[in-house]
């Protein structure tokens, strides 16, 4: 496939018009038009600039193959198509960079994800979603308060690529033959909302082969699948035993617990008060109209919580940064490439170069036999 056609594909993939591409790249609209129609070939520096603007690597244009872009599952997708495409393009770029860092440092590993005891999508029920949440909690050794370790376990033991960006929408999950499993969370959301989104998206990752087998690669989640994902998330983040223990500790002699006390429990589990109220309503079979009444008060209570500095997550995962620093100091990543991967400027990137930065020498390895 020629470069012109690929330029058009790349521009469409990020949802840019030729005018927007010209504005972003500083290359004239008529030139972009001529490149895409293969009337003339861009110079290398122009191609490099367009690759940057389209969030592709230059290799995308120089390679003879056209990579197949994988499906991305959205939670609360924005209504504007361009927003979706631009967020997906940025997320995909980060995932590919992460995977490249894994390859460069020899850390590309795979781990088998837990699977539900269900083979077909039609066989899924709320009970099975609940038992699957218990299975995941045990297999991942998430303990009493799963939200405290869930993200870290997924990143470090299961190599799930988890990024935070500010975008319109809640979360995205994807499974790619190229770079593996990945989740994007909205950095603007509160920590409890992100925890819930993470657990929800996890359900999609774990059940990807059930809902999206080879013949149905482009299938979007059905309402039922979304409900099961919510049920799974709720049960995973608030395990019944630990939740009952917290409630027993706080309830009064009449067997009642105030919303302020529930708010404390929600904080401990790092879930929203809303999510906790729903979970309790389900656990103690509370009537729908009563639940709605509690939810109304919960909303007002939640408004009084002021954001904390620690609420803001890092865009890039810790493992990603660690691999990038290693690659730089082993001469496996140029400084410019490092700055781009780390989303920092050249001056900041320079500070990561250390004279004794390569610690791979066998002479300083510790024997563990």
């Amino acid at each position: 496939m020629d470069i012109g056609r690929k330029l058009k594909i790349a521009r469409d993939a990020i949802g840019y018009t030729q005018e927007k591409a010209a504005l972003e790249s500083g290359i004239g609209k008529s030139s972009i038009c001529e490149f895409e129609k293969s009337k003339r070939e861009p110079k290398f520096s122009q191609l490099s600039r367009l690759a940057e603007v389209y969030r592709k690597t230059i290799d995308f244009f120089l390679s003879d193959e056209l990579p197949i872009e994988n499906l991305m599952l959205w939670r609360d997708a924005p209504s504007i198509e361009e927003e979706i495409k631009q967020t997906e393009a940025e997320f995909r770029q980060l995932c590919k960079q992460y995977h490249m860092l894994e390859i460069l440092t020899g850390e590309a590993r795979k781990a088998k994800l837990p699977e539900p005891d269900v083979n077909k999508a039609e066989d899924f029920t709320f009970e099975r979603a609940e038992s699957f949440a218990r299975k995941v909690q045990n297999e991942l050794c998430l303990g009493d308060i799963p939200s405290a370790s869930l993200k870290r376990v997924l990143e470090e033991r299961y190599f799930v690529k988890i990024f935070h960006l500010s975008f319109i929408g809640s979360a995205i999950s994807t499974v790619s033959v190229e770079f593996g499993t990945a989740i994007l969370l909205n950095a603007k959301n509160k920590p409890w909302r992100r925890n819930y989104d993470l657990a929800h998206e996890l359900f999609h990752l774990f059940t990807w082969n059930i809902y999206r087998n080879n013949h149905k690669q482009d299938i979007l989640p059905t309402p039922d699948e979304e409900k099961f994902a919510n049920a799974f998330a709720s049960k995973l983040l608030m395990p019944e035993d630990s939740l009952r223990q917290r409630i027993d500790l706080r309830k009064n002699k009449q067997g009642q617990i105030s919303l302020v006390q529930l708010d404390e429990i929600a904080r401990e589990f790092s879930v929203s008060l809303d999510a906790l109220v729903y979970r309790i309503a389900n656990l103690f079979r509370i009537k729908k109209e009563d639940t709605e009444k509690y939810l109304d008060v919960a909303k007002r209570l939640a408004e009084s919580h002021k954001p904390r500095g620690s609420d803001k997550p890092d865009k890039l995962p810790e493992r990603y940064c660690s691999l990038a620093i290693r690659a730089l100091n082993e001469g496996k990543l140029s400084l410019m490439q490092f700055a781009k991967y780390m989303d920092m400027n050249y001056r900041q990137a320079r500070e990561y170069l250390t004279e004794d930065g390569d610690f791979k020498d066998e002479k300083i390895s510790i024997s563990v036999t």
């Binding site: 290398f44 520096s45 120089l62 140029s334 700055a339 050249y346 170069l353």
Partner: protein, 179 residues
């Protein structure tokens, strides 16, 4: 006798790191008077962009190009494609676009170019390609043209250049990196 015939390095390709450093040291003008400098367009763009983060340094190479003090070239993607296809997937990702353009140019030319960089990855690729004598540190050049500087950072030193060139040589011996 033309000015360029008096210059010490006649085929010198400069990477973004040394360009910025020379501006930072305020010896860029002296440097281009003493060396025959060639820069690829993508590196020139990168150096300009990167220098915008520095309060006191503005890398604008255009006036020097217009005066004929430096040469800036661009290339056809096909030249880079041929170069790029030599490498394994891992090595393709190591270097940035500007460096790809610079190294493709070096490998495509019959002249004995020297590359001055402050990037381990560049020296590593040169070591892999068996072109160890074509990588040079800024420290060495400055010494040879009488502009020696004390306290240059690690990435501009001869030791740095040698360390990463050696790594590329090891990859070459172990048959890693090239297809």
């Amino acid at each position: 006798m033309g000015i360029s015939r008096m210059k010490k390095f006649q085929f010198l390709l400069l990477d973004a790191g040394p360009i910025i450093k020379l501006f930072e040291l305020n010896i860029w003008v002296d440097f281009v008077k003493r060396c025959d400098v060639t820069i690829c367009r993508t590196v020139a763009n990168q150096a300009k962009y990167a220098s915008q983060e520095f309060e006191d340094i503005r890398v604008d190479l255009e006036p020097f190009e217009e005066e004929g003090l430096i040469k800036i070239f661009d290339s056809e993607p096909s030249v880079n494609k041929a170069f790029y296809e030599k490498f394994s997937e891992r090595y393709k990702a190591i270097i940035h676009d500007g460096e790809k353009q610079m190294l493709a140019y070096l490998c495509d030319s019959s002249e004995n170019w020297l590359v001055c960089s402050a990037d381990g990855a560049i020296f590593r690729v040169l070591g892999l390609l068996g072109r160890i004598e074509q990588g040079i540190s800024l420290e060495e050049i400055l010494e040879k043209i009488g502009l020696s500087q004390s306290n240059l950072e690690w990435e501009y030193t001869k030791k740095f250049c040698e360390k990463y060139t050696r790594m590329g040589q090891v990859d070459s011996i172990q048959d890693k990196g090239l297809l």
